[in-house]
């Protein structure tokens, strides 16, 4: 299962959990699964601009594949100049 890590700013919605394991094949399905586990988290994650999968940052990750070896981080919004 994919390892999903939450920044401290998200843990108010995860009951304080910093990491969970989720069975999913894409980021979209992963977010849907997280929403079921932690109601309200899906909306918050949708506001995040980027997702890091195995260290690689994606700005539009909805359809990016994840698997049992994936390490997923949701990142705060940031903008380049």
């Amino acid at each position: 299962m994919a390892q999903v890590h939450f920044s401290a700013g998200l843990r108010d919605l995860t009951g304080g959990l910093a990491q969970v394991e989720v069975e999913a094949t894409t980021v979209r399905r992963l977010v849907a699964a997280l929403e079921e586990m932690f109601p309200g988290l899906g909306d918050r994650l949708s506001e995040a601009s980027s997702v890091a999968i195995n260290g690689e940052i994606f700005t539009d990750a909805e359809f990016e594949p994840v698997d049992s070896d994936s390490e997923v981080h949701f990142l705060d919004i940031f903008q380049g100049g």
Partner: protein, 750 residues
């Protein structure tokens, strides 16, 4: 010579040809935003708020409309009320910043605009627009805005990211938090702990070319906009939102751009020009003067930052605690999020808490500025790290090497770093003669480092082969830092034809596929990848055409140095010229498109070394020597890479020593000109020495990382650390101006 990572054997990539835009720029032929003239064109003028915070009671345009030559007057009521329409909050903010409706939130906020036959008539009419305000109390800094009972800019703003959510509104838009490990344990393990508080002032991007836009609206609802921006597709999208039209109704042509640095990713004049043109039935030009640029366009945030860090005797950082508050200006969206992620990202720290606040105040809405948010945080963290190194008697490079993030380090913002080149930038500084150069009286030396993510995002490119075998590379990425040259160099490498045979152009929004902004250090990476993809499609097409010509299978054809060769040498080679000349017989014009959402962004690191001399009588700091080492991944165009590195440093030196917004108690900016807001000029500076580090990004066909931003992250701390070395005073407030230096020296002597 063997082909290796260090010597990849490129013919064009990494060379220094003559820049393609130079001749037109030095002869004045280049068309910047304000240069366009259209038949029947009117001149516009914007009416701006004189108050930092006020309710608009009424706007009377009667007198202005009656004036000679005046063809149109618009106010906020001429635009859709996005809030009433249930639009997304970020879109409402974009529209509200473009033109105010109920309240003005900063001095310079737009309340109306006029268009007239001449500039003088437009200026007179703008003065004749009568606006009645109910002046409200204002807040100018994070301290004022976060104080109990502070006047509110947005009555419904509830802080996000706080659990439980606050019951009452405030000027704090959001909180960010990153933490790892056990802070108490980490500080308990420390041999030395240093804690300092820092402040920085808002500074402007300082682009030489003011904002300008020309709009020509048709009666069918369509309009054509010419503007200077970092992304004409973004200008189209934002303008369409504010105007309430489909993006397809707007065509935007990118003018040449005289600097942006993040500040031209935002709309200001474009929708106003379109609406004025629609009302007047004629083209309208709007151009800001410098005063307007300062008062009404995005600076970057002023900040207050507290940093506490501890190290062991051998220089390992055991804990870090960072608290920061960033001004957002009138609408939420300061770069505190990026600041929180970058503040300690250079280092592998087991225990930390990074806490940040996005705070609105009555100043212009902040806009992106090179590595938005990171430089202020780096000023604080790198200054404290310098103190720690001094306290334990450790070399400033060595303490950074002892803690440096490397491939596999879990970054402070979450994921593990892929291959990165931070250590290599540190070593490049340490190995350079500047590091051991002699220092004179009142001189000191400082080191600092910085990190920036870089970005990928969406890009499109089209490549055409002309009938003589030359090529045209078409992208939609405005060329701010040399992208036309880097696109042409990569295309030359792919196609195997001379750089001089390739012309790279920036097309309008109807001529090429979508491109995100030229920002985030992304264009050489992402748009470059699109160009490479398009070229590779063309090479496959050329091989197929040669195979058709020779009546052989395509796998019998190789593309080598600009010509098709039969693998067994049984056919005379066919050059690109040969194939282009006969393209009609082999399938028609040779052209290819590529579009992508870029993957494989490579992070950027920079380490810098600054030598200063401080005059103890005047407090003036002179930079006497400066070296910047930056990981470019691969320098496609070394001249432009060095230009980006030097530019970031120069802007950082200005930020460090001179630049600041000064407001009077009424919230009115008092230094809105380059006379009183002093950016560095060439005579202020030594040559900025560059050490390009190349640790290729494995995810890009040429190893590109992006170079436009990280260079501005280290300079303020590098300068501050050098001042500390020179006069034994730790400066914690920017700018480190002569007055502040003298104050600090006087305090030291008391």
């Amino acid at each position: 010579m063997a082909i290796t990572e260090e010597n990849p054997g490129y013919k064009w990539v990494g060379t220094r040809p003559i820049r393609p835009d130079g001749l037109e720029k030095v002869t004045g032929k280049a068309q910047f935003g304000a240069d366009l003239m259209l038949p029947g064109m009117l001149f516009g003028k914007v009416v701006r708020s004189p108050h930092a915070h006020a309710r608009i009671v009424s706007i009377d345009t009667t007198a202005a409309e009656a004036m000679v030559g005046v063809k149109a007057v618009i106010t906020g009521s001429d635009f859709p009320d996005l809030a009433a329409n249930g639009a997304h909050a970020s879109d409402i903010d974009v529209a509200s910043n473009a033109i105010a409706r109920e309240k003005v939130l900063y001095e310079g906020h737009v309340v109306a605009a006029v268009a007239a036959t001449t500039r003088d008539q437009a200026e007179a009419a703008a003065k004749a627009v009568e606006v009645t305000y109910e002046v409200l109390p204002h807040v100018l800094t994070v301290d004022e805005a976060m104080a109990d009972g502070a006047p509110l800019l947005h009555e419904g703003m509830i802080t996000k990211g706080v659990d439980p959510a606050p019951e009452n509104p405030s000027n704090v838009a959001s909180k960010i938090l990153h933490e790892r490990g056990d802070l108490d344990q980490g500080f308990g393990e420390a041999h030395v702990v240093v804690e300092r508080e820092f402040t920085t002032k808002p500074v402007h991007q300082g682009y030489i070319e003011p904002h300008a836009a020309v709009a020509d609206a048709n009666t069918d609802g369509r309009a054509h906009i010419w503007c200077s921006s970092q992304g004409h597709f973004q200008m189209r999208a934002y303008s369409a939102t504010v105007l309430g039209v489909s993006p397809g109704n707007l065509k935007v042509t990118a003018a040449e751009i005289g600097g942006g640095f993040g500040g031209k990713t935002v709309i200001y004049l474009e929708p106003l020009a379109v609406r004025l043109s629609q009302r007047a039935g004629r083209p309208v030009k709007l151009v800001m003067d410098r005063d307007e640029v300062f008062r009404a366009t995005g600076p970057t945030s002023g900040t207050r930052i507290r940093v506490k860090m501890g190290v062991s005797e051998d220089g390992k950082i055991t804990a870090a605690e960072v608290w920061m508050a960033y001004e957002a200006g009138a609408f939420s969206g300061s770069p505190v999020g990026a600041a929180g992620m970058t503040a300690i990202a250079c280092y592998d720290i087991p225990n930390f808490v990074v806490e940040g606040y996005d705070v609105v105040c009555n100043k212009p809405r902040v806009a992106a500025y090179r590595a938005p948010g990171a430089p202020m945080a780096a000023f604080a963290v790198e200054s404290v790290l310098d103190e720690l190194a001094r306290d334990i008697g450790m070399d400033p490079i060595d303490i950074r090497l002892a803690n440096a993030a490397v491939e596999g380090t879990q970054a402070s913002y979450g994921p593990k770093f892929p291959r990165i080149g931070f250590v290599e930038t540190l070593e490049a500084i340490k190995d350079h003669p500047n590091y051991t150069a002699d220092l004179g009286p009142n001189q000191g030396r400082g080191v600092s480092a910085g990190f920036w993510f870089n970005a990928g995002m969406m890009s499109s490119a089209t490549v055409h082969i002309n009938e003589n075998g030359s090529a045209t590379v078409v992208t939609g990425s405005p060329d701010i830092g040399g992208s036309r040259q880097s696109m042409a160099l990569m295309a030359a490498e792919e196609l195997g034809i001379p750089y001089e045979s390739i012309k790279a152009v920036v097309a309008d929004t109807e001529t090429v596929g979508f491109n995100d902004v030229t920002g985030g250090s992304r264009v050489t990476l992402a748009t470059g990848a699109a160009v490479v993809d398009a070229c590779r499609i063309i090479v496959e097409d050329l091989r197929a055409r040669a195979a058709k010509t020779w009546d052989v299978e395509v796998d019998q054809v190789e593309w080598v140095e600009g010509q098709a060769q039969h693998v067994e040498g049984t056919q005379p080679p066919l050059s690109l010229n040969d194939l282009a000349a006969k393209s009609g017989r082999t399938g028609g014009p040779i052209s290819a498109n590529a579009s992508l959402n870029s993957r494989g962004v490579g992070a950027g690191f920079s380490t810098q070394l600054c030598d200063v001399e401080v005059d103890p009588e005047t407090g003036v700091t002179r930079v006497v020597r400066y070296l910047t080492a930056q990981d470019a991944g691969r320098a496609i165009s070394p001249d432009y890479v060095e230009g980006q590195m030097q530019g970031g440093v120069v802007q950082g030196i200005g930020w460090a020593l001179n630049e600041e917004y000064i407001h009077n108690p009424d919230g009115v900016m008092e230094n809105p000109s380059f006379l009183d807001y002093r950016i560095p000029v060439a005579s202020d500076l030594p040559m900025i020495d560059c050490a390009i580090v190349e640790v290729p990004n494995p995810a890009h066909p040429y190893g590109v990382r992006g170079v436009g931003e990280v260079g501005i992250v280290p300079p303020m701390a590098a300068v501050g650390n050098a001042i500390r070395d020179a006069i034994d005073v730790r400066m914690t407030d920017l700018p480190m101006s002569p007055v502040r230096i003298l104050e600090a020296l006087n305090e030291q002597s008391d």
